[in-house]
Homo-oligomer: 109 residues x 3
């Protein structure tokens, strides 16, 4: 068994969860925040058989798309304090960042 | 060391955490949502010694029980759109879904 | 690749995330609750190369410090019900509890 940890954009969560449920995949949704942009996003925990991982990744690829975000950085995201004037910054946020972990034991009560 | 990731029902969380603390087990609680029913539940992260995992699982078994949920599915949980009329659906939600992960390194600061 | 799961105090989160971003480390922040004190804290998920783990741990050590918490336990944290009179309890909360997990596969979409 594997645990798929997928950080996705909020906009794609409802649709992806629906399609996953239709194929019998189970998931738990956690509200999360991006470390860099500090904007809300979604972290999914998906426990599935090892040979289903590729199908889960396909569902994520097909339903989670990258988007451009224009942010006016309030405080500089890096150590640029001295030369900094707030200006709009175009940041591309990917569709998903996915980690596949091995599960030693799974118990359903 | 192992990391036990346990998705449980909100109703059992306070009691389980109290009993775990009494036995010296440490845990962190995350608010989560079920992917299918979209109802709030609880995800616990429990770091413990490998030979304590069975005791932690016993505490979970003894304190987390299945419950029936009657839901009137607003939008059909699967691709049944054409023949769908909203009617009460009886769904049995288990006491806990638990994943045991191996921890390579643990640091307390 | 490794997934670093770090439970830290809320007070240290913003500063640590800023310093990590400056070094190009990526992280996702989850709001969490301590199992024992039931107070809010922060759980970070940090996916990084295996040979960056030590640097990430150093950043956590340098920026997350232990603090004393005085709590008046409302309900006894353990089975002391009969002899219990509410009195202030001094609890030392560590800077961070960190679990390093192995990642089998990482996909960015
Ligand atoms: N130090 C840095 N310097 C320059 N640009 C940076 C940066 N950190 C992030 N970015 C950019 O900002 C986007 C949003 O990052 P954020 O941390 O808010 O939101 C992230 C974070 O919540 C999560 N994430 C990405 N990589 C991660 C990792 N290795 N570990 C944990 N979470 C990760 O996925 C979300 C989207 O990430 P994605 O890479 O698609 O998109 C990122 C990336 O394009
Ligand atoms: N493999 C896994 N990976 C990650 N998280 C997992 C998981 N298996 C279970 N969970 C988590 O545990 C909760 C209870 O699951 P359980 O299987 O007992 O109880 C489930 C199950 O009886 C039923 N169910 C879930 N998905 C279904 C599906 N695709 N088709 C039919 N019934 C489903 O609805 C109940 C509530 O599901 P919900 O998703 O709201 O809430 C789930 C979900 O948050
Ligand atoms: N093995 C583990 N697995 C998962 N999460 C873990 C963990 N060890 C620590 N944590 C997380 O880190 C927070 C701080 O733990 P720390 O051990 O520094 O500081 C702890 C510790 O000094 C004390 N404490 C916790 N459990 C105790 C117990 N059963 N008996 C006596 N003291 C306890 O209370 C402080 C706050 O604990 P709290 O649970 O509210 O909050 C914890 C919990 O959210």
């Amino acid at each position: 068994l594997k645990l798929v940890v997928a950080v996705i954009q909020d906009k794609d969560a409802v649709n992806l969860l629906q399609l996953m449920a239709e194929e019998g995949f189970r998931a738990t949704k956690l509200s999360s925040t991006g470390g860099f942009l500090r904007e809300g996003n979604t972290t999914l925990l998906i426990g599935c058989e090892a040979d289903s991982v590729e199908r889960v990744l396909d569902l994520i690829r097909e339903n989670c798309r990258p988007r451009e975000r224009t942010v006016t950085a309030q405080s500089p995201p890096s150590g640029m304090l001295d030369s900094y004037a707030p200006f709009p910054l175009e940041v591309s946020v990917g569709g998903a960042t996915v980690f596949v972990l091995d599960v030693e034991k799974c118990v359903q009560i």
